[in-house]
Symmetry: C2
Subunit: 308 residues, 2 copies
Amino acid sequence: MENKYWIGIDFGGTNIRVGLFKEDKLIHENKFLTEADRGPDYIIENIKKNIQIIKGVHDIEGIGIGMPGPIDPNKGVVLSPVNLPGWDSIPLTDILTKYFEVPCYIENDCNVAALAESLEGAGKGLNIVFYITVSTGVGGGLCINGEIVSGASGSAGEIANIIVSDKPVKHSFLNPGSLEGMASGTSIIKLAKKEGLNVNHAHEVFRLADENNKAAKEIIDSVMDHLARGMAAIAHVIDPNIFILGGGVSNSVANFAPNMKERFEQYIYPTMRGKIQVKASQLSEPGMLGAMYLVKQKVKNINSKEVL
Amino acid sequence: MENKYWIGIDFGGTNIRVGLFKEDKLIHENKFLTEADRGPDYIIENIKKNIQIIKGVHDIEGIGIGMPGPIDPNKGVVLSPVNLPGWDSIPLTDILTKYFEVPCYIENDCNVAALAESLEGAGKGLNIVFYITVSTGVGGGLCINGEIVSGASGSAGEIANIIVSDKPVKHSFLNPGSLEGMASGTSIIKLAKKEGLNVNHAHEVFRLADENNKAAKEIIDSVMDHLARGMAAIAHVIDPNIFILGGGVSNSVANFAPNMKERFEQYIYPTMRGKIQVKASQLSEPGMLGAMYLVKQKVKNINSKEVL
């Protein structure tokens, strides 16, 4: 069987990574600054140029992209990501498909991370995988049987907006008492500064709590409790085989996954306890890999339908 | 092609319905009192006898059962439903499979209702269907592509236990501030009695609210608001194409579905609004029908795997 080539793109607010895959193996990668302030036309030209360079003489079968939402994965349209000024209903997949004459698919970054972890990471071999990232914000992605569940408008896994508290804590345009407002890196820093703690990153607050700083302990306790409530809500909806915890905050704190497991199990039915794994993410850069799998699966599904 | 016969059983705390289906069509039904207080041995004999009567001379392909949880659908074991004293880890499917020498599958009643609504009711033709029952309690069931999503321990859709409030309202063994504690028929009656309203059913409180009774209005407002928070949490996890609302409370209140749609949309992202339908359940007795589809799908899946 002939090897096929695919492009996987991790499109972030700061960096863009374009990877060339020979089947499932990354064989070449370009990483460059997004330069978000230069707007969509410039960035799209830059992506095109880098795909062109990296594909070289190879014919590619398709292009997959993971990027911050909100996007419409069904139409392949970038709606209006917070960190990408000027991107307002840009039909990114159409643009790339026209230019390279191959299929192109897009999903939000948490969904492609979930897909990569589901196929090659901590969720390998498991049926229902729920990926949660706790970093500046909070995000999620759901895979069932190794495929992304996108939802009616591509919003499955958009857990930042789940209400986990009656407290009128406003964060961005989210609901008062939202999961992201109560349990993100940003909210940890905000609470810490309010208490006069001199910190720049959430993991420093975790460290202070370990050192028995009273204010830090209360903040971390509240943050982990609200995250546990969010995880319990997710568990009562989809009852995953595993929660995979990734993102800057999760990754920088020792024993975060086992500690969260202990906490969230208090909020689920006794009959559910011990049956949902909670593990740290295993892939350091799931973006390109997940984006490659995304397009590969979509193309495969279309082909198998055509045969039928 | 020869027609095949299936048994679908709706096993409730008060009544049991045993139905004989010729392919998807119900051709004979027996309904009898559960007599829960007579314990599992008596009830199982009664079920066996009624299956025997109803199947008559026909060979059946399998038996499907929908009943109140907690159950373990993977092992076919009834764990300990609140309204069925003495049922404690009873391997119901094994018992019936041994006796009738056909495959037998079990799922909780909300999941089979979701399956029936997904295949023949309000969710027909839709990809992701989330069924919610609001009656004495609150329950849910999830179907994707016309099949039940059961979850790691059969607890997908067990939304009663989702925390929707910081208020320490305790209800049964659920979390304080649980969805069922804040928004079930039982909680409506409890709140109404506390306010001195002379009512016996939740729909009377809805009626009083319509008539501008201040206390009733506040109760209904709080109940619908907490239900809306629960629906928003579900939407942020799975982003269904439709919410189907069933159960005694939903069915007895005019315009319940459109009113809930309006409320829950306040708690989801603007980009999601208008894309999730909210409709009343269409099937009056989804139990037997869903149970029949359950066993039929399982048998079909096993056969198709054997062919591969």
